[in-house]
Symmetry: C2
Subunit: 124 residues, 2 copies
Amino acid sequence: MPARNRARAETPPAATHHRALPVHTDPADVPLETALLALADPVRRTLVRELAADEDWRRPCGSFDVPVTKATLSRHFSVLRDAGLLEQRDVGTKRLNRLRRAEFDACFPGLLDLVLRGEAGSAD
Amino acid sequence: MPARNRARAETPPAATHHRALPVHTDPADVPLETALLALADPVRRTLVRELAADEDWRRPCGSFDVPVTKATLSRHFSVLRDAGLLEQRDVGTKRLNRLRRAEFDACFPGLLDLVLRGEAGSAD
């Protein structure tokens, strides 16, 4: 049964991960609306700014200074992944994060800069 | 009573307008979040694109090709004014519109360009 063997070989062993692997969306597949809505939330802008201020893959999910529950934070990470802004990978027991700055900039030039420079006129 | 006379002179005569004058917000006073949310709506992006494609003050409120009721359209105009994107003035029985492109660009560089060029990756 070569067909069944091939199918089995392509499926990664499920038991090696404690939780579902994060699903990522390429910024090139992200509608403008999704990108705008992702960045319209103050908690997500804080996450983006903290990631931009640090090295790639340095920040585990629990290291961000935002006043939300773990479940809410998890939802914010999901929205950022869906907007092509965030890449995550599990290393040991930690999930590490990277801002997809260059890829996102290529698709939405100027948008991340607006967020990272702070606010235009008045307060955030 | 010079004080009372002054106050009276500064108040425009209310009876000359059939409806309330539109209230405008300067783009410099608009938080980034308000600007992002205003442009995250597909109907408002259509209004912005149609305004950008025409001359200032050429478009009356009823001239836009959007599938919404008059009341909903009025709400969209209000959101655009609050985001510093739209200026309106009444001429006769018509309310005419102008995209505040230069002022908005100065406060949120690149943001309008993203909307006007269409969508980055996939569909709108």
